[in-house]
Amino acid sequence: MSAPNESLDRRRFLKVVGITGAGTAALSGCSTDQVEKLIPYLVQSQDQVPSLPTIYASTCTECAAGCGLHVKTREARAIKLEGNPDHPVNAGTLCSRGQAALQGLYNPDRVAGPRGRNAAGKLTEILWNEAIDQLAAAVKAAGNRVAVISGAGAGTFDDLLSQWVAAVGGKLVRYQAFGHEPVRLASRKVFGADELPIHDFSQAKYILSFGADFLETWLAPVENQRGFANAHGFDGSGMAKFVYVGPRMSLTGINADQWVAPNPGSEASLALGLANAVLNTRTDVPADAAVLKPMLAEYGLDRVAADTGLAPVQIRQLFDEFASVGPSLVMAGGVGLQHRGAADLCAAVNILNYVAGNVGRSVKFGGGVTTGDGYGALLDLERSMAAGEIDVLIVHEANPLYSVPKQGGFRSAFEKVKLTVSTSLFFDDTAAASDLLMPNLHSLERWDDARPRAGVRGLLQPVMEPVFKGAATGDVLLQVAKKVGGALAGFSAPTYEAHLKSVWADLGRARGATDLEAFWRGALAKGGIFEPAPAAPPVRLAATAGEVSGAKPALDGDGEFIFSPYPSSMYHDGRGANRPWLLENPDPVTKITWQSWVELHPETARELDVREGEFVRLTSPAGSVEAAVYVYPGIRRDVVAMPLGLGHLENGRFAKGRGVNALDAIGAADGQGFLPYLSTRVKLEKTGHYRKVAKTEGNPRELGRGITEAMPLAAAVKGLTVKQAYEAAGHPSHEINTELEVEAIEGFRESQLEKRKLGAYALTEPQWGMAIDLGRCTGCSACVTACYAENNIPYVGEEEVLRGRELSWMRIERYFEGGDDGRPISARVIPMLCQHCDNAPCEPVCPVYAAYHTPDGLNGQVYNRCVGTRYCANNCPYKVRYFNWYAYAKKAFPEPLNLQLNPDVTVRARGIMEKCTFCVQRIRGAQHQARLEDRGLRDGDVITACAQACPSGAITFGDMTNPDHRVVKAAKNHRGYHVLEEVNVRPAVTYLAKVVPGSEA
C-alpha cells in the first residue's frame, strides 16, 4: 500500500533524538522528512487485506519429493513458505531447500525475460513472440530431430511434454541429477517393479542405511525425517536403533547410534551376509526366499570380514542384532555411496529387506515413484547430439552442463546442436551456453500440478504476479504447437491453465464430483487431492533376484585415496548455490559456510602434515580440484570427501566462481544407467595456499560442559533424570555446585521470586517457554532457515562469518564425542537460541534498558533503545546475542530479494544487538486475534517459525503457566535439563536429553 520507504536509519534516528533533547519544536516525527505516498488499489482485492496474511496452498518443486506448501503472502507478495499440514508427504513441515525456494522466486539473478543471440553471438533481450516464432520455426525445420531434457517430475506438465515430444517424433529424456537410478534398477532386478519404494519408518525397530542419506537428499527427506524421528525418538518405552554404513558420516550418519565403515564397495557383501544370517536363524522368512539360499550361503562371516575389512566381532554383533530385532528397515542408494556396484548394493538390500519380512511393511512398492529416465538415457542423447542428429534441444528444469562431469564432453555435444533452448529461471551453466532463453515462471507464479506418488496429486497455483517477464513453459509449448501445426495441431488448449483445469475436471468426474468448479476450488484450497495409494499386489522375488553380486566395484586411477563426492544438504544438485540462506546456513556436519572443502581423517591429515584451511589438490585420471582441508573424524582414513553443489561457471552473483565443483575430478562414464560418483582414486598434494575456513563451529568438542546430554535407553526407560542416569552409571554429573553455592543460589532464587510478585510481573501473563527434544533433533537446520525467513535476518557473507559475525539467531551446535579415546566417534547436535532466562545476565548490564524482561517471560530486546554497548552479549553464557556490525540488511536484500521481508518484523539497522525473540511478532499476532475473538490463547495459537518448520517435531512452544499446553508436559519430562544449569540463569528453554540404545551414553 505505501510507497517503499527506507527503514529508519540509526544515524538519522540519533539526530532526531538529539533535536528533541535540545527542545526544538516542530519535530515532525522520526522518519517523515520525506513525503511518503499512499497508493491504494484500483479495485478491491478479494483475497488480500492489508497487514493480514493470506495463505495459498501449493507444491514444492525444489526436489522430486513433492512436499505440500502453505505460501504466506502479505500485500500480494509471498513472504514465507511453510509445509501444508494436510499433505501426506511432509505433513506441515519443510526443509531448508524448500523454504529457500523464496530466494529463487525473488532471486536478483533471474532471467528477466526471453533472450536470444544477436549477430555477435551475445544474449540480448527479445520479445516473447519473437522467441516463440524462433522456436516454432526451428521445430518445424527440425522435424523429428528435436530433443528435450526435462527435470520436471510426474504431473500434467510432464504428460503434456511427453505428448508434445512424441507428436514431433523427438526424444524426451527425463533427467534429474540425483535420480536414484540404482534404487530403481535394483527394484527391477529383485522384484520386477520399475519404481522407487516408499519407506515407512513407523514400525521399524532397527534401521539400517547403506549410504542412503535419507535426512538430506535421498527420496523424500522431510517425510523420512518425520518417520525417523518417530521411530528413533524415545517415546517413553523404547526406540529404534539406527546403524549407518558408509565411508563417511553424513548428516544422516551423525544421527546413527552406530557407524560402520567397511571398505568402500564392499557394502553389498555385508548386506548379503546379513540376509544370510537372517535366513539361517529366523523361521519366519518368506518361503520363496529359499531359492536365494545357495547364493547367500557364500556370504558367511569370513567372506564378509575379508570383503569389508571389518572386525569379525563387529560383523557378528551386526548379524546377531539384525537377525533378532524386527521389524526392521534397510535403505541404500545415496549419491555419496553411488559406486559402480551401487545397483548390486541396492539389490542386496532389497533381498535383505525381503528375507527380513520388511517388504510390504516398512518398504512399500506400488507408489509408482520414478525420478526420470536416468543418466544412461542422458548419455544416449549426448551421443546423438555429438553425432549431429539433434537440431533443437530444449533443456527444462535441468542443468546438465553443471551436473554431468566435464570430462565426458557433454558441452561439446551440446554445442553441436543447432538451436539450444533453456527454460531455466536463472542464468545457470546451461542457460548461459544456450542460444535461446525462454525463462519459465517460478513455481509460485504459475499453474501446475505434481504427482509424486500414487494417490497424491498436489496443485501449484500462482500466489502473486510474476516478478519477472517469464512465461509458463506449458504455454510456450502450446503456442509453439499452434505455430508449427502439422503433427502438433492436436494441442488445442488455449492456455496451459485451461489444459490443467480440463485435466482436473476429468479427475473430478472420475471421482463423481457433480460441481466441478467446487471440486477444483476445494482441491486448490487443500493443496491437491490426497487419497490412499491404490492397493498394489505384494511384490515377489523376480527370476533375476539371485543374480546379485557382492563383488567389489572397480575404481579408476591409482591414487592412494578413494574420492567420495557427496550431496550437500543445502545445495542439493547445485540448484541451491545462488541462495544466500543456503550458503550462509552452515553445513550441518562440518559447520562450514559459503565454500567448498575437502574432508580428511585426522590421522591422514597428520601423516600428510596438513591443517585445516590448507589447500590440497586432488588429482584423478579425470581431472583435479583444489579446496581447503577440513579435518573430519567421521571419515575413513583412506577416503577423501567433498560436497557437491558449488563451483558454478555461471548461475548468479552468489554462486558464480564460488567453491569448486567436485565433479571435475570424476569421470562421466556410465555405470550401467547411473553416474558412479564414488568411482575414482585420487592423489593428494599440498598446494601451499591457505585460507581460513569460514565455519561457525567454535570448539568441536564439549570439553565436559554438559551442553548436550544423553542417557542410555536403560536409564530412560526407568524414568531417570540426567543426573540420576550419570549416578547410575557411576559417573558424577559434569558439574556439581558446592553446598555453599547451592545455598547462595537458593537464596537468590527466593529473592527473585519475591520480586516476581510485583506489578505486571505477578505472573498474570502467559510465561512463554520452549522444549526441544534432542532425541528427535537431527541437526538438519530447517529451523535455522525458517528463522532467517521469518525474522528478516540478513546474511553477512564469508568474510564476516570468518570474523564470527553471523547473525543466526538460531544455530545448530554440533559436538563430536569419542573417536580419540577408544570410544567410537559420534556426534551430538543441539539447537541453540536465546534461552529467555528468568535470571537473564544480559538484562542488568544494559545501561539503556534495551535488554529487559517482559511480563510474559520473554527476554525482550528493544532495537530503538539499544545503543550497541554489547555488554549484554559479553554477559550471555549461551552466546546467542548477535551484534549488527554493518548495515547488513542494506546489502543482503538486493532488489527484488527485499520483497521477501516480513513486514511484521523490524529490519535492524547497524549498531544494535539482535537475537531470538521467540517470534514475538507471532505471539502478538495471536494475542490480537484472540482478543478480537474474545477468547484466551489456546495451545497451538503461537507456533514459532523454528517449531513450525521442524520436520522432526522436536520443538514445542507454549505457555508454561497453562497446564493444557503441550510444552508444559514436554518440559516436565524426566529427560529435561537446562544447558549450563549451574549458572542459575533459569532458562525458559528445556532440552530433553538424547537417548542412546544400550546401557552406556
Partner: protein, 198 residues
C-alpha cells in the same frame, strides 16, 4: 474508556466551534449517538482554499468533513480493515466510484474534484495520496486492538476530529511515544516495550 471519550469530545467541541457556521439537524439520517457529530455542515471551499488550510495539499481535494461529517459515512466504510487488521486500509478507487458513479456533485467546487476521481478511474491510475501519519518502522500499531477496546469512534483519539477537517492534518504526533504511553498509563493497559517494538 469513558475518560478518553470525554477527552475526544473535548477536542471535537473546540474544533467544531471553529468550523461550525450553521446548525441544521439531519432528519433523513438516523440520529447519531454522539450529539456533537450531528451538527456538521461542511463549509463551501474550493481547491484554491486548500493552500490556506492546515495539512498537506492532496492530489484531490477530498473533503473528510463532507463525507464523514456532513453525510456521516462511517470511517470504516472506506477504511475497511481497521477493525480486523493492523492497517486501517485505504479505500480503493472502486470504493469511491461505488458512490461517485452516480453522485457527480451538488456544487461546482465538488464537481471539479469528483471529475478527477472519475478520470483516474477511467485511466486506471490510482490516486497518490500524501501520507500524513507514518509510524516509525520499529513500532507496530494494531489498529484493530484499539477499535476493539475503544469502539468504532476511537479514531478521533489519535487522528483528531477528522469529521470537521476540510483537509486532514496531523493533530498528534504518532511517533511521539509519550503520546501512546500517557493513554496506556491512564487506561492501565499494557506498557511492555515488546507490545509495540519488535
Amino acid at each position: 474508556m469513558r475518560k478518553l471519550l470525554v477527552a475526544g469530545v473535548g477536542v471535537a467541541v473546540i474544533v467544531g466551534a471553529l468550523a461550525l457556521t450553521s446548525f441544521r439537524p439531519s432528519t433523513a439520517q438516523q440520529q447519531a449517538k454522539k450529539p456533537d457529530a450531528d451538527s456538521v455542515v461542511a463549509p463551501r471551499l474550493t481547491v484554491a482554499d486548500s493552500g490556506q488550510l492546515k495539512g498537506p495539499k492532496q492530489p484531490i481535494f477530498f473533503r473528510h468533513d463532507i463525507h464523514s461529517g456532513q453525510y456521516k459515512i462511517q470511517c470504516q466504510y472506506c477504511h475497511y480493515s481497521v477493525a480486523d487488521a493492523a492497517e486501517p486500509g485505504i479505500p480503493t478507487l472502486q470504493t469511491c466510484m461505488g458512490c461517485h458513479l452516480a453522485i457527480g456533485g451538488s456544487d461546482s467546487t465538488h464537481r471539479v474534484e469528483i471529475k478527477k476521481v472519475r478520470d483516474a478511474w477511467r485511466q486506471k491510475r490510482p490516486v497518490e495520496w500524501v501520507r500524513i501519519h507514518t509510524l516509525a518502522k520499529h513500532a507496530h500499531f494494531p489498529h484493530m486492538r484499539h477499535l476493539k477496546a475503544m469502539g468504532p469512534n476511537a479514531c478521533a483519539t489519535c487522528h483528531g476530529d477528522v469529521a470537521r477537517m476540510p483537509q486532514v492534518f496531523k493533530v498528534n504526533n504518532v511517533n511521539n511515544m509519550g503520546f501512546c504511553i500517557s493513554c496506556h498509563v491512564e487506561r492501565k493497559v499494557n506498557r511492555d516495550c515488546t507490545a509495540c517494538h519488535y
